[in-house]
Symmetry: C2
Subunit: 156 residues, 2 copies
């Protein structure tokens, strides 16, 4: 099982700068890891989103710091979508992820590109640019969620 | 509840460069976030640990990339230990965390300092230095876990 996970992860791992030796002993390790990376990413995007929506005051330094974390996180989850990681613990990953791997790879790359643009906007210190970039990155997240993330967690 | 969480989080937030406006709507958001940050940190430390133990070949570039992620992650969880985040979803955080906040802060700072040393060792490309730094960082993690992390998750 471990060998299967690592071998298949190599395809998605080409998206990231880290090697595919992902140290996932069990499918649940991979699922927990990718969910964790998405959770951290969403939180830090949310902190800037709150500024974009005027719910908290715009703080250019904090926005840039949060955006840098978003960029780091955006690169991580993909290596954890190897074959055999569709179950093992509750997951919202739809089975189509492993059928449409080329499309998923494309969506993942687009999201990562939007994250880089988002960081550049945050570094610019221009709130209007940040607002636009938050929207674009949110759309890139949603594009994948619409087709590949289930509403509810699986039972296992 | 939200105000309580944010106010208490300010103390621990002094450990990190990000402001305390952590956007935790509910205690479970904070618990999920800190668990996620620790999960990502442990994974990337583990990838270098596998090199240190000779289970995978030493790759200096990969070690440095992983160490950089460990440093980023080491700064994040603390803001999510605000008052009122001792329950809300299953957690291994012991109640003593909120009684011994000065000691926990000290342990958290020591761990972050070891993470920085670990990254420096990884960047040096010297495997012996990496082995020593992995050990030191692991001890700094364990020092907190021994007293403040329960064996089992709470029921809620």
């Amino acid at each position: 099982m471990k060998r299967l996970i690592v071998a298949s992860a190599t395809v998605l791992a080409s998206l990231v700068s880290l090697p595919a030796a992902a140290q996932f002993q069990k499918p649940e390790d991979a699922i927990k890891y990718r969910q964790s990376a998405f959770t951290v990413m969403a939180n830090h995007l949310g902190r800037v989103g709150a500024m974009a929506q005027g719910r908290v005051p715009f703080d250019a330094k904090a926005a840039a710091d949060n955006a840098a974390i978003v960029v780091t996180m955006s690169k991580l989850p993909w290596v954890a979508f190897g074959e055999g990681t569709d179950k093992g613990m509750p997951t919202r990953a739809k089975p189509e992820i492993w059928k449409d791997s080329a499309k998923v790879k494309d969506l993942a790359e687009k999201m990562q590109a939007e994250a880089v643009k988002f960081e550049a906007a945050a570094k610019s210190g221009n709130l209007d640019s940040v607002k636009a970039a938050v929207g674009d990155l949110g759309k890139a997240c949603k594009a994948c969620h619409d087709d590949y993330r289930a509403e509810k967690y699986s039972a296992n």
